[in-house]
Amino acid sequence: MATKTFTGNSWLSILASKKDLPWLTIWIAGLGVLWIWDALFLNAPAFARLQIAFLNSLFTGVMVVLFSLVLGWFVGVSLHMLEHSKSKVGFAVISFVTDILRSIPQIITVLIGYVVLTILLHNGIIRSSFVQMLWIAGIIAIAVFLEVADTIRQRIDYFRTLDFVDAMLCCGIKERRIINVEILWKNSRSHMLHKLIAIFGISIFLQCSIDFIISVGLSTDVSLINFPMTLGNLLANVDSKQDILALSNLFTEPGYLPVIFVRHLQGLSVAFCIVFSLLCIYMIANGFVRRHKLA
């Protein structure tokens, strides 16, 4: 049985001790290899589309993370403050609304957001791709920000169960400072970062899924080409779908394997990019939990 870990102070042992860094390295390296392969074998227009799609998805994912952080922080702290205020009306209203939002599957929230987006596109209210991506990030953030709000509330509630908050209050330290600085900033950064990594993964998944879904069509007036190029959008493209369908050939004709990596590269590259990124982000999040002993 292998029970030993890396010995000495090699770069391997340093990587292994960080737990999340090896997977970050694998992710970047994997995408790097894919990029080189595509640069060599994928036709130039498809390669350009793939790069734009990846960057757009990355940008949207990052924006989802930012929006979720702001929304989650605001709602989490507000809920806590309102819960401990004299009047409980505000707390009841916000909890009720968040409770309803929680019961709507994320993809439905995003779908509704996309329906509104198609109406805005159709009426010419939104035109630029940049604004579209911000809109998409905004609606995905609405679907997922409650996870950040929950983490914030859990952290505050945890410290409330200790003497932490009361001891500082008795010394005259303001409650605002105790929550925002002492609890959230100084004691919850790792927890929040972990949650944000997970949200980044969910946002990539939701983005790709919704883009793939709308390839079926949300409106007779607006189609895939009206939306910014993302990984999901590119995967829903007919060429990519054909490439993925070609994988079925492997069941009957295993010798077809080498051909796939050259002839069906667009669809395969997009699918690999999505799946590999989802796997690596999950592993990074898990490694982060282990490194910071969050569980």
Binding site: C171, G172, I173, K174
Partner: protein
Amino acid sequence: MNERKYNIRISSEGRELVAIDDFRLAKSAITVLLGESGIGKSLILLAIAGLIDPDELDVQIDGKPYAAYLRSQEAIDIRRNGFFVFQEPSSHLNPLATLRAQLREGSLAKTHDEERILRKLWQNSTSSDIESILDVYPKPYRPSGGEKQRILAAMAFKKMAASAELEDSTFIFDEPTGNLDNRLRNEFLDLLIENFRDRTATIVLITHDYSIISRFASTYPAVSMRILYRELMLERGKLHLRDFLPGEYLSWLEKRNAAVRTAKKTETILRLHPDIEIFGRTLSISRDKEGCNLEPLVIRKGAVTYLKAPSGTGKTTIVKLMMGLIKPEKMLMELGSAVYTEKTNRNAWARGVWGKQMTMVFQHADESLNQNSKVKDVFSGLPIAGPMNERTIANSISELFEEEPSRDFLNTKVKYLSGGQKQRLNLLRSLILHTDILILDEPLNGLDFASAAKVITKIEMKLQSGIGVLVISHNEEIFDTLVAADDIYYLHSWSPNCTMPDTSKR
């Protein structure tokens, strides 16, 4: 006396937590292990008992990897024949099994004497009382901390009874009396000595309760030859074990007792009326132990008021409601010219009381301080006029620490300090404020004898500046030397046979 000497190194991710070359464990004796909290006492004994998870910490014993030690006959025997009573009773009981089931689990299933042990630890309780406790699934709030602690002790005594015939077995009690009042603590010590007297067990008692020294000295002189006092201390960054002479503590205590203490009739700052209702319970305050003559609790300028009660009565609850942290169903408190009742809004405390008129030091420094703050940042956000620069912080810290702190120390994160250092910081954060009243909940928690003496001196200095102090502490032996008899109050659950004071003025 036969002793086993250990060389122990414990680290986590490259950071050394404990390193000691000469940890000695006396066989067939009781070792009372003293020393400030967080210095490594529990960790060392957990390592010896083979209870550290090698995945969590890197341990070396006598220069060998921990895995080798765990496979040794010594470690196997300690685990098989001994027991470890952990200091946090709440987290050491399974919340999804009744106490009865947990008391009869594993190797404890084969042992007898359960009833005798429980009766001794729950003296004055009927069988049905004990039975009803055993049917409980342990929760943070039920049974009480003291009851949980006694259940864990009962497990150890059951194992002790079962291994009575064995030549040697090791029993480690980590702060076993931390949640017990003096009466229950004495019952525990009686049972310990009873089980130890006629056999050859190795017992380690980790404690900060120095009054155990007086108890052993006065009650069990016959076994005193087999009781050793040792103190784990950090000197010039190096951990070592020294023999602690009981006389050091006893003579200090004697000297303090010799001083005359008379109540000063100074100005009253706070008056808490004695009929209080909270969480559906009625609590009352009196000057007599029986609780028949209820009187308001008074805090006066330049004097210490001492509130006593058995464990679990609600001493901390009372001071928390005085601080406006929990809402009672009924209370009346006069603070200066202001009146605070159950109807008073929490904001009133936030505006006028916290950090201005009153402040409070909580008993658990680990919970009260931000572990991820630097030492100098512990003082950030306090309502103090004038700047708190590194110089002023360093000056304040030096009042309770051995020497003026270095810049490195000021920039150290609180989590890397020992428990005693944390407790002193915890005290300093409140002592630095210019409030009229200082409430101290178990202020000597986790302190070694030298630090405790320093804290007592600091409190006396604060009194001279005119501040009023309210103390809650299990260390009655020490605080009785600081307080005049007239300033001692007792907290009770209200008895209908007693006369309630006239509260018609409300």
